[in-house]
Subunit: 142 residues, 2 copies
Amino acid sequence: MLQISKEYIELISNLFKSFQRLNQKSSNLTHLQNQILEFLFMNHNTLTIKQISEGLNVPKQQMTVLLKRLFDQGYITKSQNKHDKRSFVIELTEKGKTSQQEKWAKIYQNFVNDLSKLDREEQLDLQYAMHKVNYLLKKMED
Amino acid sequence: MLQISKEYIELISNLFKSFQRLNQKSSNLTHLQNQILEFLFMNHNTLTIKQISEGLNVPKQQMTVLLKRLFDQGYITKSQNKHDKRSFVIELTEKGKTSQQEKWAKIYQNFVNDLSKLDREEQLDLQYAMHKVNYLLKKMED
DNA sequence: ATATTTAGTAAATTATCGTTTACTAAATAT
DNA sequence: ATATTTAGTAAACGATAATTTACTAAATAT
């Protein structure tokens, strides 16, 4: 295995705990419902049902039901796709967005607390290195 | 919000897609069962039932049942905790480990493919930056 | 010694997940 | 024009997930 791939996989592994926190269900949502909201939040544009069901590897038949539940609870909106009358686009409501942001707040808090274990110079190094990784990972996506 | 925290959160977000892939169920395992194996794999030491159930935010009563199912299918072992006779420690079997490694292989392949979008120098930059991030994140955990 | 906490189990019940088959209507291909 | 594909819905059924109450036995506290 390439050295660079090892670093990549170790990076995911190192961030695993924060990831885990993302996955935790909030109050009255099931794991899957939460994953759907999370997926919508991360892909911060509107998505069709198909895109969601493929992204999460859940059959569209099931996704229909799951989304209906989220809609009834006020987490998402559903409107016709302007470009394709057969399909619908799903968006987070304010309630939906808030439910996700709360998780980020916890991750943020945790990170800030742990930061104190680095000295000033190391913090700047970390910031710069993360910036570089972010820049290059994005470039790889295009 | 601190700039460094922004970079951190963006980093998680950038790695999210790969992580999603981890979460996809393999063959005959449910989402939750898969998450349990993943959790064991990432925390590559032996864990007690309590640790798993707290880490995944699943009640211990449910965890008992879930683990029994994984045990019956040969993914985990369960043995008495030497330090506390009330508790048991859970470990992945070879089958359990393999099931997780297969997912990593896919993530690895994807990454290697996308790498071609960077030139030689950028690849080295990325490798070095990730190395630095990994080093400092680990230091923060202690 | 006794009381309280802690780790895990058991069983029952409801809700959700996961899959399959079948359907409608719009989009696309021939 | 007609046939085929595509996006989404509906309903039904078995398998899990999630929650609650109650229990055992070891560990810890008083």
